[in-house]
Point group: C2
Chain length 149, copies 2
């Protein structure tokens, strides 16, 4: 319930209104898996709420991102994706190029080295993005089996 309340709080502070649609979209966003696109969430919501329009899903996801509840991610497929970002700290992604699985990870060592690199160039970091693309354990096994045949 904390999520709903913090969204309501954000809405209130910004003179925005708590509507049924926003609640439905927030619920769907929270219960669906992470890293989903507007299109995917829209389709999920449509199943139970045929009245909610694409534009509203799009706007609400942007709102969630602005409020800090969601984080936008851009992977390579041309779709903006959103993940729950609430209290968690920054994390990066391992992405399987075969099955599309996305794994989150954190690595303070990498972050520290990034700071060093930035400092060396006189940069002050605002944010960063690290994506590692490769084959996940499962897909590596499948590949071996395929070759064995």
């Amino acid at each position: 319930m904390t999520y709903k309340n913090s969204f309501r709080e954000y809405l209130g502070k910004h003179g925005l209104k708590a509507t049924r649609q926003r609640e439905v979209i927030l619920d769907a966003f929270l219960s669906a898996g992470s890293h989903l696109s507007t299109e995917e969430l829209y389709r999920t919501i449509r199943e139970k709420n045929p009245g909610i329009g694409y534009a509203t899903v799009h706007r609400t996801l942007k709102l969630l991102a602005e409020s800090g509840l969601a984080a936008q991610r851009h992977f390579g497929d041309g779709h903006t994706r959103y993940e729950c970002s609430s209290e968690e700290q920054h994390h990066d992604h391992l992405i399987c190029t075969v099955c599309g699985t996305i794994i989150e990870f954190e690595n303070p060592g990498i972050e520290r080295l990034q700071e060093q690199v930035a400092a060396r160039h006189g940069f002050v970091i605002e944010q960063h993005r690290l994506e590692i693309y490769g084959r996940c354990a499962g897909c590596l096994v499948k590949k071996e089996k395929k070759q064995a045949i």
Copy 2:
């Protein structure tokens, strides 16, 4: 001249033809600064070659990427960018969110830690992308001046 030849070689091997336009576009790509978008390269080329169309620039850049001479990059601005990738090894980017300056860097330490992270999750890395966004030295100075006034 090596670049031109290796592009010609690629074209030949794939049953494609070496045309005047492709030569012009390759030349422009090589002599222009790195990290340019199709639009930017198109405009540069137009100055001396008004006859070359946007679609041709776009197709040729894709060809260059396929041939390995260019590498596609996606930063946050919604434009696909291309950089010369020839013999250089992998590198990452520092991007100034104020002036748009892009600085390349390499950091073996970060790469090593990435390998560790991947191994921990059973991944085999194919490629990765690290972008650090922040304010460059120049823009930090400007900001200070602004505040001083």
